[in-house]
Amino acid sequence: MPDDSERTEIHEYLLLNRVFEETVLEVYEDEGIPELPHLSMGQEAVGVGATYALEDDDWLAPSLRTRAVMLMRLSIRDVVTGMYGTASSPTEGRVTEHHLGTSENHILGTTGLVGSHLNVAAGAALSARQLDEDRVTAVFFGDGGATRGEFHTAINYAAVEDLPVVFIIENNQWIEETPASEVIAVEEDISEMAGHDLPKEVIDGQDVDEVIETVSAAADRARRGGGPTLIEAKTYRYRPHAEVIPERRDEAEIEEWKERDPVEVHRERLLDAGVADEEWIEETRAELIEEIEAAFEFAKDDPMPEADVMDKVYKDMDVDEDGGVVR
């Protein structure tokens, strides 16, 4: 169980995610943002809890919707400039903030292909074994990602080799515009799709404490050589898949999930336990808004990158625009 100061810290991360995305939505609706928002609102507890549970040198491989990884491991300004692709953005405008990689902050680079990072994450765990390093890799993916061959092959390999990896399904039950139940041939828990011999945990993804506890236990086991764990966190996104896509889901379904809002659940718990009061929460929220708005102001004034930043294709060879070796 986290102590009081940890609990307020966790709440701050939840608020950061929520307030950040509220701001993103507002700015996007007002004036647009170059990176099309794929908001995680409603499912923040999974990314926040898992990232919180892991060590700084554990690798995280986020899904396109695991905003928490980016917000907790990069600065707010990096995330915002990343969305604008400006000169000061973390990759100098080469790629969006969605799937960038950074070794310094142990975010494993991913791609725009949903689910292609599962074996890559297993590979990051394989390198920990090869180098005899005490680190764990956590990989996040949606129910859609779980329908790919990557899911089965990565879990099989990680399980048979006892690799230190934690697979986290953020099961928000919708795959873009298709309900998961229409395309996944299991009744209840989609983690059942993995018949492999590894521990499986199905948890309440709206409860950040449960996420932290489960991911910590899985990471501990992995660090001790106990191999991978598959965690299925049941959750829900409040917004459409991406902001250009009209909402097709039942309003009642969305409202039902909002009743178990992850930020609210945690807030009530803190208030009940007397760990924080309304005033602290409001102050924290106001500070975050200020910081986030400042980052947006900065990004909007930031110059665009120079063309030469594209010249980062090979590390070990000088190659011209036409693919020829430069001597």
Partner: protein, 325 residues
């Protein structure tokens, strides 16, 4: 110098790199105890242990993905893809992942992995075990592709590939494992991105890739008897290409023929021809010729497969046709 087969030279390169760098490991289907379908990794597991040389499931998806992940996080994986035809399975990891991560990272991180794979026809293995997949990947910035011809180049280039910080596909021609040649006894590497002039000549530049280098060299011998003096260039690294060596040669011979095993259409030969047209057109005194396979899958029947594969006669015909117009 010691005479070695290509198989031995690759095996030695792998052993030396495993010995040299703890971060290197070697894995794939059957590469461990069995020593690989083509026995290229024979004895390595025994020597370096199961931690460094090991078998994987029959899942190229796992191989492709884990190699990228392992390479991104501090190791230098060498994986074996049994047949180059199966590169299609890891195309996503090669094209969207390995090739793009250096670009996609905020820092200097790259993907130092080597994909060793076999390629080429001549064994009647049919349409899914005989292809030359080089053109599938030549349009992917970020990948390097190496296709050597001699045992010493195989060894020296593989060692460079393992030490290289970028992802390299290393193409091993199935017909060449038994080919012998002199290999230096002392430690050496052959740099990536440098073509080699395998035969010098005055009348025609023949650029030949991988298994086609010997075909071109033999054709050059017959052509010499007929009075045509060919220069044979082996790019060794196909992508990125050492255009300078090729263009310098074309400016000297004023003629160009390219030879590769994959289909003529859409092959690297077209790129080499286009480069000459772009940068050396007015040096050319003859039409540029491309020698490759017809635009069909690799056929099975012995006579059909032989018909399919480019051979000395095809090269000779092309060269003579070009020089006699």
């Amino acid at each position: 110098m010691t005479e070695q087969t290509v198989r031995e030279s690759i095996n030695e390169a792998l052993a030396e790199e495993l010995e040299r760098d703890e971060r290197v490991f070697l894995y794939g289907e059957d590469v461990g105890d069995y020593g690989g379908l083509y026995q290229v990794t024979a004895g390595l597991q025994e020597r370096f242990g199961e931690d460094r040389v090991f078998d994987t499931p029959l899942s190229e998806t796992t191989l492709g993905g884990t190699a990228v992940g392992a390479a991104l996080t501090g190791t230098r994986p060498i994986m074996e893809i049994m047949f180059g035809d199966f590169l299609s399975v890891i195309a996503d990891h090669l094209i969207n992942y390995a090739a793009k991560m250096h670009f996609n990272y905020t820092d200097d991180t790259s993907v130092p992995m080597v994909v060793r794979t076999t390629y080429g026809g001549g064994d009647q293995f049919g349409l899914h075990h005989s292809q030359d997949p080089i053109p599938w990947f030549q349009n992917v910035p970020g990948l390097k592709m190496v296709a050597p011809s001699t045992p010493s180049d195989y060894k020296g280039l593989l060692k460079s590939a393992v030490r290289d910080d970028d992802p390299v596909i290393f193409f091993e021609n199935k017909q060449r494992y038994e080919v012998t040649g002199d290999v230096p006894d002392e430690e050496y590497t052959v740099p990536l991105g440098e073509a080699d002039v395998k035969r010098s000549g005055e009348d025609m530049t023949v650029v030949a890739v991988g298994g086609m280098v010997d075909v071109a060299l033999e054709a050059a011998e017959s052509l010499a008897d007929r009075g045509y003096d060919c220069e044979v260039i082996d790019p060794r690294t196909v992508v990125p290409l050492d255009k300078e060596t090729i263009l310098d040669s074309v400016k000297k011979t004023h003629a160009l023929t390219v030879v590769h095993e994959s289909a003529t259409f859409g092959g690297i030969g077209g790129e080499i021809a286009a480069t000459a047209a772009d940068e050396a057109l007015f040096y050319l005194d003859a039409p540029v010729k491309r020698v490759g396979a017809p635009f069909t899958p690799v056929p099975f029947a012995e006579n059909l497969e032989q018909e399919y594969l480019p051979d000395e006669e095809d090269v000779e015909t092309a060269v003579v046709e070009a020089l006699e117009v």
